[in-house]
Chain length 235, copies 2
DNA sequence: AATAACTGCTGGACTAGTCCAAAAACCAAC
DNA sequence: GTTGGTTTTTGGACTAGTCCAGCAGTTATT
């Protein structure tokens, strides 16, 4: 889309300034597109364009038909630390919440089968969850578990940390993981859950987990709102 | 921007299909926005919106006033492997090129000083380079070196690997590094170099390098075209 | 043969609207 | 007090154009 250059340079600079100057605080609402277009005497399309650009930058985010809001600071995600979601968020003085969206049991589709190194028709469980930080839905997670490794797991509370559940109920420790971080667009079902537009940018993380015997136990697809996270690695 | 929903769903699906079906090949040009708008009987704005969305997905990219093109496969970037850029690209059967954009010598601004753990006014060299994969500019790099650690470095060929230069000329080995990966928008000078629009999404990588004595020797800012790369970690 | 000027094509930026659907606020009826 | 419509507000999607600037290829000039 027309990305802000001349007319919208103004409004971008003003908003950026207001945000960095703490006049607009995290989670606070920004005036509506129509208001801004009147304030700056430009079309709503140009306003949208400027807001889009600030959104890419990670300064603001939109909620469908609710308005635009200032983004809170990014969470630091260290893939090398064996720390589960709630712990990580708590360590950064933020509050976390997990909501179970649904569970499906099915035969592993080919992409998943390849990732999990399954050679033939194998049943898997797919657990879909939505994670919140400070009350805002920022992460959609899809876990694919090899069913026979986790008998009876569906009767457990799946809103808790799966890593902990693996350890306590099955004696599995996540020994190592393979990660892939891919900036891409949100697929339909993810966009819907995160309340963003289909095709909007997200950070996709594909993760394959190995237990202490070096067996693959599950894989995970995470979709983060890009303004909510940064990857941090110290080695 | 209006992200593709109804009218533009069509055009998105068609292009996606043509690309995955290899009817449109990497680096190949897509029909112009005006042509597409006639072909699908929709406005150019709607076409733009659909193309924008495919761009976010990483399937296509634009070149200013030249047209839209199909993205080649992403490069896998493993931050834990001590492998320099040209080596990494070669290992993936692609061709790399580095172009020196310029060198500045200055006092470290506060952000850099903090990163490099400098306590007082310290001169640094800033080396700006542009990296190409298969002839396409995909990576803008800014290296900030503490000047007194690298006497006379400016007389060297700076288009080669700095890691290698550090080792051969100064006996420095990059022992470990801290990384931060941040999906954000391209600043003005980066956008210009990469030939993308200001404010377009990029993957920003901040990296601080330590030598074998555990001293910070330099820091680096990388800005990747998001469709050109994925981060891959195995541990 | 080299260079400068022209020209068409491309995306960039923008104006001025319209219609729609979801969310939220409001208000009246129960 | 709660429920259930109605109205208002908000962003989503779209139409139908305009003008501009950079790129590339051609043509005319030197």
């Amino acid at each position: 889309m027309g990305v802000a250059k001349d007319v919208s340079k103004d409004i971008k600079a003003v908003l950026r300034d207001q945000i960095s100057g703490k006049l607009l605080l995290p989670l606070q609402k920004i005036p509506s597109e129509r208001e801004l277009s009147e304030l700056f005497s430009i079309t709503r399309i140009s306003v949208k364009s400027a807001l889009d650009s600030l959104e890419v930058e990670g300064l603001i985010y939109r909620e469908d038909r609710r308005g635009w809001f200032v983004s809170p600071p990014r969470i630091k995600y260290n893939p090398l630390s064996r720390c589960h979601f709630h712990q990580m968020i708590r360590d950064q003085q933020r509050t976390a919440k997990t909501q179970l969206l649904g569970v499906k049991s099915m035969m592993a589709p080919s992409i998943i089968a390849t990732l999990l190194a399954l050679s033939e028709l194998t049943p898997i469980h797919v657990i879909e969850r939505l994670r919140y930080i400070d009350g805002r839905a920022v992460l959609f997670v899809e876990n694919c578990l090899i069913s026979h490794c986790f008998p009876d797991i569906l009767s457990e509370d799946l809103a808790q940390s799966l890593t902990i559940l693996y350890a306590t109920k099955y004696g599995f420790k996540t020994n190592r993981s393979n990660f892939e971080f891919i900036p891409t667009a949100a697929p339909e079902h993810v966009a819907q859950a995160l309340n963003i537009r289909t095709g909007q940018q997200v950070l996709k993380i594909c993760r394959v987990n190995y237990n202490q015997h070096n067996d693959i136990i599950d894989c995970e697809f995470e979709y983060w709102r890009t303004d909510a996270v940064m990857i941090s690695i110290n080695n």
